[in-house]
């Protein structure tokens, strides 16, 4: 599905990514761990075209994404959420979810049906006529997730989906992510500091440290990796 090969990204003299390689197979969840400043969000920004990588390659289903603008990468099926939700604040929830359909040929009825379906799944259908700016931070996370999923992406990039979310909403988000590979048919790149959730949801985990891959493996391997313990988990 997604293959990142020897990716580097520098900002002036700062090397944010120093040759990162990773692979996410179809319908799999890859957890991405790392300290603040380890390059996790930079990697996501490179994948969906917000940043232009300095070198390396990013391939989605065998086709390079390099040089494509963000909207074309989205059209190829890459969805994204942000640590601080980036909604359209002065638009209603229904309009927020209709935004991915402004290009394409889905009928109005289909757009409504899919938007309503996802607002139901995130339990916010009753607020569909509210402006996004009127929602709490946790609710905004859910709407952003729904807006991404309504477009039926092949790959989703989730940046700290549990940050600032109360436990009941976090549980709902966990259920939604759990369903993504099988029910929704997409692969997931999950960035989070919530280790328990990452261990629970991920088929495989990559740990970044200072822009490089420090370790890769299953939850048990990562938990017991001495380099990870020293650099990230603490003694």
């Amino acid at each position: 599905m997604l293959r990142v090969t020897d990716l580097t990204k520098t900002f002036g003299g700062l090397k944010a990514l120093g040759g990162v390689s990773l692979h996410i197979p179809e319908k799999r969840v890859l957890g991405l761990l790392g300290m603040n400043g380890s390059g996790k969000t930079t990697l996501l920004n490179c994948i969906n075209g917000l940043y232009e990588p300095s070198s390396g390659d990013i391939q989605l289903q065998g086709t390079s994404l390099l040089g494509l603008p963000t909207h074309k990468i989205a059209a190829r099926g890459v969805g994204r959420t942000f640590q601080v939700p980036k909604l359209f604040p002065r638009m209603t929830l229904l309009e927020n979810l209709a935004a991915p359909f402004t290009t394409g040929d889905a009928s109005d009825a289909e757009v409504y049906e899919r938007s309503a379906e996802w607002l139901n799944r995130v339990e916010l259908y009753r607020l569909r006529h509210n402006y996004a700016e009127e929602l709490s931070g946790g609710q905004q996370k859910l709407v952003e997730l729904a807006r991404m999923m309504v477009a039926q992406p092949k790959l989703v990039l989730l940046d700290e989906p549990f940050a600032g979310v109360n436990p009941s909403l976090a549980l709902l988000i966990i259920r939604l992510i759990e369903a993504m590979p099988e029910r929704d048919g997409c692969s997931v790149l999950l960035v989070s500091h919530d280790l328990t959730s990452v261990y629970q949801l991920s088929h495989n985990i990559v740990v970044l440290h200072e822009g490089r891959v420090l370790a890769e493996g299953g939850a048990a391997e990562i938990r017991s990796n001495p380099d990870v313990i020293e650099a990230y988990l603490g003694a």
């Binding site: 969906n48 075209g49 917000l50 603008p69 963000t70 909207h71 989205a74 059209a75 969805g79 994204r80 980036k86 909604l87 359209f88 604040p89 002065r90 638009m91 209603t92 229904l94 309009e95 209709a98 935004a99 991915p100 359909f101 402004t102 290009t103 394409g104 409504y112 049906e113 899919r114 309503a116 379906e117 996802w118 607002l119 139901n120 799944r121 259908y125 569909r128 006529h129 807006r147 991404m148 477009a151 029910r183």
Partner: protein, 330 residues
């Protein structure tokens, strides 16, 4: 109830109710548009003094088209008058110097406005106040360039007199048609998916790109449409007054009034700029009649009070006060 998409479908009553809301909103806009256009169409039969109605139409067109770029995409072009001036000069020069009939000159004015908007399209990369200042500077440059063109073409700093074009009745009816076209175009844009894309870009351009919207192309659509109508308005005024000159055609006060009228009504809604233009131009006209010396001072005070009392404009403040009704406001 499971939907055909394998998810959780919307309750049927919610679906039909939401469809009804959309229909009501479109119907309300049609009623508003007809409520504006039809009385103005009938005005020549009721009065010989068409000047007030004519300029009211010009301001409604200017504010409505300005809203397409400022209200729907979040750009604030302080040099908006440039399109108006280019349209006035395209019409005047083509009619007087090259003998083109007025309707043909107006079509060319529209094309000139669109062409200038494409020429200035690279400035859309700028954001916020930087865009505003650059557009203002460009308007000044346009005025200077027009002033310095050969006098036998543009009339230089003295401008042109279009005495042969004098036909206020025809000008008036053409203006009614342009007004109807402008309101229809704005409605089409607002209720179409392009309208959703425009407002998404206005709220967060990065997020819009993330969901697949071509931000540059979307902005450009609104920009070109928003430039075409003021260019026609410039041509219409040249036709109506039979005179153009650089100072009047590129007068920054035109932009200032468009901004104030639109904001007073409420940017970002279709109704706001129409209401703002109608209310403030009406007040402006009344004050000017009663206090010809102090009219600008009184107008300034009224605008300040309006902004303080209705910070989101008349329509925006109404929507804030009555949130349940806002979904019906076009």
């Amino acid at each position: 109830m499971a939907s055909s998409l394998g998810g959780v479908a919307a309750p049927a009553e919610g679906r039909s109710g939401d469809a009804r809301v959309g229909r009501i909103r479109i119907s309300l806009w049609i009623v508003v548009a007809l409520g504006v256009v039809l009385p103005l169409l009938a005005a020549p039969a009721l009065t010989e003094n068409l000047s007030f109605s004519f300029y009211l139409m010009l301001w409604i067109i200017l504010c409505t088209s300005f809203n397409l770029v400022a209200g729907f995409t979040g750009y604030m072009p302080f040099g908006y008058v440039a399109f108006y001036g280019v349209g006035a000069y395209a019409t005047g020069v083509l009619h007087k110097t090259y003998g083109l009939p007025m309707p043909g000159a107006l079509v060319c004015a529209a094309l000139a406005g669109a062409a200038v908007s494409l020429l200035l399209a690279p400035t859309l990369r700028l954001k916020g106040v930087y865009f505003g200042i650059v557009s203002l500077a460009l308007a000044v440059i346009f005025r200077l360039v027009v002033s310095m063109l050969p006098e036998d073409i543009t009339g230089g700093s003295m401008g042109l007199i279009l005495a042969r074009a004098n036909d206020p009745q025809t000008t008036y009816y053409v203006t009614v048609a342009v007004l109807a076209a402008c309101l229809a175009a704005a409605g089409w844009l607002a209720f179409s998916r392009t309208g959703v894309a425009l407002r998404a870009v206005r709220d967060d351009a990065d997020a819009a790109a993330i969901v697949g919207i071509d931000v540059t192309r979307t902005r450009l659509k609104a920009w070109v449409l928003a430039a075409t109508f003021p260019a026609v308005v410039g041509g219409l005024e040249a036709w109506y007054t039979n005179a153009i000159d650089p100072e009047a055609s590129f007068n920054i006060l035109v932009t200032a009034k468009v901004i104030v009228y639109s904001m007073a009504g409420g940017l970002g809604t279709l109704l706001g700029p129409v209401l703002g233009a109608g209310a403030l131009y009406g007040i402006d006209h009344l004050i000017w009649q009663k206090f010809p010396v102090l009219n600008l001072m009184f107008l300034g005070i009224i605008i300040m009070v309006m902004i303080l009392v209705f910070p989101r404009g008349l329509v925006g403040s109404f929507a804030q006060r009555f949130p349940l009704l806002r979904r019906y406001i076009p």
